[in-house]
């Protein structure tokens, strides 16, 4: 059992004991251990590391830096204004018990295509702080997911924090599953209207080998908003349908126990259209996060 109390100590132990499994909330790893799917030589417990369970504003207040140990419950309680879509996604995760333990960093380290925070992190162009004794590097979220449950993390690296640009305009997250709690997403979608740049961000979950970005949908919406970001009422109604269709096209889903590929494509088109209509409504009403 390895139990560092400082971040420096955690990185040293990570490099000295490559067979140890990092654990924080344990909501993924303990399931694998309980079912005999994982037998790590030992655990590297990060729950006693100082200063990783909080958030701060960096880049002159433009970016929220979320510590690796911060629970979903605290993200909901403290960041629903600065990171509304991330807080929305966090509300859909598991149950109160799971949200009290689970973390965005753990979600990233597992790198499941169905991870609920991933579509939001894509839509917000987040960056992952990966650190080892060799140094700190920032991984753009577009480069982070390299395959099903595979990420760009090196074996000696730990996720120290996630950097999420603070919302400048409406954000939405939506997820389809058989009930309101304890659900692995059948599909999920996140939309970010960044009015400062301005640009459109998207993220798709559970519909491909990794979380995906719907680039053509982003481009189409950006072109159609063009110089009318202040007057979204002028956006053509067909835009919603086209946007949804392009979101569905960007996915490469499979048939599995949670849903068929055909259903997933259909549901994504619906989620894309709905998220856009909610976001445009917010834009029209000036409901822009502080």
């Amino acid at each position: 059992m390895l139990r560092p109390s400082s971040w420096r100590g955690a990185m040293l132990l990570r490099s000295q004991y490559p067979d140890a499994s990092p654990i924080c909330g344990g909501t993924d790893l303990m399931v694998d251990i309980n079912f005999g799917r994982a037998r790590p030589a030992t655990l590297l417990d990060l729950t006693s590391v100082e200063d990783i369970d909080s958030w701060e504003l960096i880049d002159d207040g433009r970016t929220v830096r979320i510590g690796a140990g911060m629970s979903y419950t605290r993200i909901i309680d403290e960041l629903s204004g600065l990171c509304p879509a991330l807080a929305q996604a966090a509300r859909t995760i598991g149950s109160p018990q799971i949200r009290n333990r689970g973390t965005v960093a753990g979600n990233l380290a597992t790198a499941s295509p169905a991870g609920d925070s991933h579509p939001v992190l894509l839509a917000c162009w987040a960056q992952v702080e990966a650190e080892s004794v060799r140094g700190l590097r920032l991984i753009d979220i577009d480069d982070f997911f390299v395959g099903p449950k595979r990420s760009a993390l090196e074996p000696d690296e730990l996720i120290r924090a996630v950097r999420v640009p603070a919302a400048t305009g409406p954000q939405q997250f939506a997820k389809v599953g058989p009930r309101n709690a304890m659900v692995i997403a059948t599909v999920s979608f996140a939309l970010n209207l960044d009015t400062a740049t301005p640009r459109v961000g998207t993220g798709i979950g559970s519909a491909g080998p990794t979380p995906l970005r719907a680039r053509a949908a982003e481009q189409m919406l950006q072109d159609s908003l063009d110089d009318r970001w202040d007057a979204p009422g002028s956006v053509d109604e067909d835009v919603g349908r086209q946007f949804g269709a392009l979101v569905a096209e960007a996915a490469s889903p499979i048939d599995d126990v949670r849903g068929s590929a055909e259903y997933r494509r259909h549901a994504l088109a619906v989620l894309g259209r709905r998220c856009l209509s909610w976001a445009l409504q917010d834009l029209g009403e000036g409901e822009v996060a502080a």
Binding site: M30, Q97, N100
Partner: protein, 157 residues
Amino acid sequence: MRVNVTVNGVAHSVDHVWALESLLDFLRERVGLRGTKNACEQGECGSCSVYVDGVLVCSCLVAAVQVEGRSVVTVEGLDSGGGMHPVQQAFLDAGAVQCGFCTPGMVVAAHCLLADNPDPDDLTVREELSGNLCRCTGYQKILDAVHLAAERTGAAP
């Protein structure tokens, strides 16, 4: 390895704990507290709900070694006098128990809910107990029990 932990106010020092052992197994097999139930072992059912440092968790998803130096409260410790906590009494009085297997987890989760929100509406109770499964009651009596407990504890000065 050795784990030092306070459980229901009592300090325990337990040797020979397996490195990958869950807090659930630790509580049941090493401390001998069998109120915390083992059902799904994947965080789906909530029957193993306990407090760790005041936070509601599924004990099957916490490694026993992670509670070193921390404080755990189980269903057996909700009433510091060793008797029946008002939430437990309300479950009894409302008939919110059939087979009883989910009940300890339900009671701990309801206890946590009422500590944060002494007078929750139905939607709040459903959301806060969404991580606890009951396969017998259909949940109505459980909702009744939570409201009954809220009434009684709210009425107390």
